[in-house]
Amino acid sequence: MLFSSVTFLFYFLPVVVALYFISPMCLKNGVLLLASLFFYGWGEPRYLAFMLLSITQGYIFGLLIEKYRGKGRTKALLTASVLFSLLLLGYCKYADFFISNFNLATGLSVPLLKIALPVGISFYTFQVISYTVDVYRGTVPAQRNYVDLAAYIAMFPQLVAGPIVRYADIAGQLRDRTHSLSGAAMGVRRFIIGLSKKVLIANQLGALVAVFKESAEPSVLFYWLYAAAYMLHIYFDFSGYSDMAIGLGYVFGFRFPENFDYPYISRSITEFWRRWHISLGAWFRDYLYIPLGGNRVGKPRWLFNIAVVWAATGLWHGAAWNFALWGLLFAALLMMEKLWLSGWLKRHRVISHLYVLFLVMVSFVIFDAESVAAAFSRISAMFGGQAMPVLTVESVYYLKSYLVILALALIGATPLPKKLAALAGKGRYTRVACHIAEPVACLVLLTVCTAYLIDGSFNPFLYFRF
């Protein structure tokens, strides 16, 4: 079920919110769990089993790790749990990737398994791993209540596209959390902003990307338009989803971690990754990079650690070589910055912004490509490397048609709207106006989003495939 769907907004959400708030505190997690299972089963009834299996093994191994703490078996138990999670993920997500590459390398023709990827498996697998690792490290006690643990892992706001909430961050809230009017209002506001980012910006830019891909009259201008549109599309799609997830968390009394912090204003790739998909970056840092030794090793090993982490980050996004290449491109850029570029970038403000925007744009062309060859072909076309006109009637038409949305997206990707809102909140009269305008503006946005959903067009979430 998509957040940006009539079924979710006008059937599922009102019913779940009502059930949740009429339930006593001791049953609220149970209500959330049942709602989450329904939410997941609505789109993927067959894959509920995978998720429940993953949760159950995490629960059992968590308890066993705690039980045998100090008795020398915990490492084996943790290894078993992590292996179980990774094998499940590997079977569902990477099996055909390995088989097809094996076939390519050996000339054999081992049949592909053709397993449809269960939605959100990459997200909930990482949450289960973080839980067992944290229990092993002693950061958190094992959760004895199966419902509470399952409610944490399966919680529908963040189940299928993050943010990747760590058990340590939410363990206390699972047992004891407060529900307030200000929290609910904060959640509603954040949810509507996220919904608007998704429906009014991301979906429209996604439609432009789709037009580009179907175009029979390519031009250099259209390739640049596509690259810019896709770069903004993926940001508004994913950050919009994160906003909705965080907003729903507020409504149910949870505080989920932030996942985006205006990444496109970054002045280095290092900074970009501190602002983009923050929960994933932090997960890889804490559960892969640091265990590998992080930067407290010799330079060759350090560079190797960076390469491993970013290859894994790339492949986490998809089982294809273009994702690996995407990750390794960032590995190379991060290494260059750490070794040589960081000082220079700090001194050149404008160039550093352009440097980030250009490289991130190119990286997303690789990310979106159907293959590595297609990625290079598109990048080559952007620079006139293929015989095609600079512009066509079609490309100019779509540039004009999406100019306002592109401009809104560009402004919306900066902190400017937030700063203006904060400024308005400081003035005596503007503050009063804001108090009146905010609920009205939210209602207008909700109405317009509903209108766009009813009209029905482009609406998939990009990160549902990860």
Binding site: T7, L13, P14, A185, I405, R431, E438, C442, A451, I454
Partner: protein, 366 residues
Amino acid sequence: MPEKRKNMALVALTCIFLYGFLLWAVIKPVDAQSVSERRPLAAPPAASWDAVFSGKFMTDFEEYALDQFPLRDGLRTVKAITSLYAFRQKDNNGVYMQDGYISKLDYPLDMPSVDYAASRFRYVYEQYMEDKDMAVYLSVIPDKNYYMAEEHSAPALDYAGLTAALRDRLDFARYIDIFPFLELSDYYRTDSHWRQENITDAARYLAGQMGVTLSGGYTQSLAEVPFYGVYYGQAALPLPGEELYCLSSAALEDCRAYDYETRTYIPIYDPEQAEGRDPYAFFLAGPKSLLKIENPNATTGKELILFRDSFGSSIAPLLAEGYASITLVDIRYISPQMLGQFISFTNQDVLFLYSTSVLNNSETIK
């Protein structure tokens, strides 16, 4: 305190919006069809274990929830207005407006589609006409984009390429160019079709090129209900209805149209159809596979077989004056293999008259 009031207002308004629409959707009677979109609406899905387990129930429910949502048409208008006026997009779902006329983007030229249409026309020719003394003509009707796209800076078909390709592939037919006799005002504002009252010069030229003279002398009648064309619903904009005129003449008065499907005579113009889902069916009852207009007052024994799409429904009554009969064939609804069972191809004139939109999207031709 003001902060608390603001929060209360925000939460209350959102709850009223969500719960209000939920309740409304639950108690609202199910609509069978959308008048503006001219299509049936999804009904509540039947729940079964198989349907739920396979996910079909959920997919069907999503479709049902969208189709039966309260204020659906009004919300579609909100979307169209936001898209065209707030976001300044040049079209809404491919539908655009220029100088008060609405059209739908249709590009680029799909040469395989033109080739396919030509191959079916050639099949008809080779099957029924090749060895007979029959004069075969070809004419193409431009869609509204021909007149609107450039003004709107929109991409459009290569019309010259389309007609040239068709003429090249149908070298057995003499091409009659009616493009110079048409302009944007000859079409409805909210529909893809041309207006019958504005195409008399095109009809006269077409007939003249086929050796027939039309005297004209038409009287114009106005349908009682306003006309909302196919783009009206697609555009979802608050636009006024149009006037739907038809032309009558002394020659046309005694003409009758025989419908081979129902084996009955039908009216040339049917006011009841103007009130239906497709008001353009006012002319010769709309989509029909095989019709014959019989003209008992014809001064000549000439007959015409008109291979046509929906544009033919409004021009055929104008051409009827010059022929003893006109057989209208729409090979989107009848297989060309079956034509021999209904039509005896002898010495009639034959006209292939098709719009560019059907030629460029010819997958419906049998």
